[in-house]
Symmetry: C2
Subunit: 159 residues, 2 copies
Amino acid sequence: MSAPSERLAPRAWRGYFEGSRLLENELERRMKTATGLDLGDFNVLLVLSEAEGCRMRMGDLARQLAFAPGRLTYRIGALERDGLVAREASAADRRGTDAVLTGAGRTRLRTARPVHARHVEELFLGGLDDEALAVLDRVFGPLRSRLLDDCRDAPEPPR
Amino acid sequence: MSAPSERLAPRAWRGYFEGSRLLENELERRMKTATGLDLGDFNVLLVLSEAEGCRMRMGDLARQLAFAPGRLTYRIGALERDGLVAREASAADRRGTDAVLTGAGRTRLRTARPVHARHVEELFLGGLDDEALAVLDRVFGPLRSRLLDDCRDAPEPPR
DNA sequence: TCCAATTCTTTCAAATTCGAACGATCAGTG
DNA sequence: CACTGATCGTTCGAATTTGAAAGAATTGGA
């Protein structure tokens, strides 16, 4: 018998859905005007910077960013033209390509990261108490893991 | 001195950011295959259905959906071709256009809504307890309101 | 070893989205 | 009333994203 959920769930969902979209738009806008980087490209650099040797297989990168494969190819192409990322043939698997963060990429990221952190703090984290942070961590962490796993296991949906 | 926040905040943010993006992708994918509607178009219909007289000014609709104006024009054009939405000149302001939900639009929404609700339940709400729902509501509701207000007041960002 | 199925990335065309500019209308002021 | 600046929605070209297909390489089993 979960009485409060029934009333709360729809409202919580709508608030979350619309709020998170507005938040992402605003972060995108600020990132672009403040650093000249797309939020998407920033995340490419960020995820790469955290990988072993600042390099990652295209496929893994695409999955973690929730990018369609063609999109990542296109985006890495742009970052490569700007010198922020390089492509290298994958050592183990000749089909594969690694995206590698360049020195310029690291520098660019070093500049952009604190700016983005400030935006996130101002728009979102700054208003949260410890309970909220704990809930977010406990809710979205597992959600993220689960959805990541799903798209590894299920290239084709069952049935 | 808010000790836990310092450790928790970055992880909570990453989980939230990546998780919410993966979630939206999955909802989009399922909505499209299950009902043939974009998640974006579905939301257009949904928001319209909740408005007075199932009609709304283009601008208000765009703001609530976090759509750029040109995007809404394009999207309403598609929905109009499908007969789900109609355009009518706004009564009070001759510059304005109202988007109006048609009967077919209502019918389509009636079909799609429970499907979407099931997806949301399966992927997200189903895993949440009352505390999580309460926190989401308390965090994202105000965030949404604040960001909506901001884009009304501040066509140009102050400094 | 050879083959078929699978995986990985890219390519390509079509659809979508963005950003700036535009024409039309409105509101406030003189 | 005329004027100025703001607002509204659309349009337009460019950039991006998608989804499907192709090409290259790997894998596992016969």
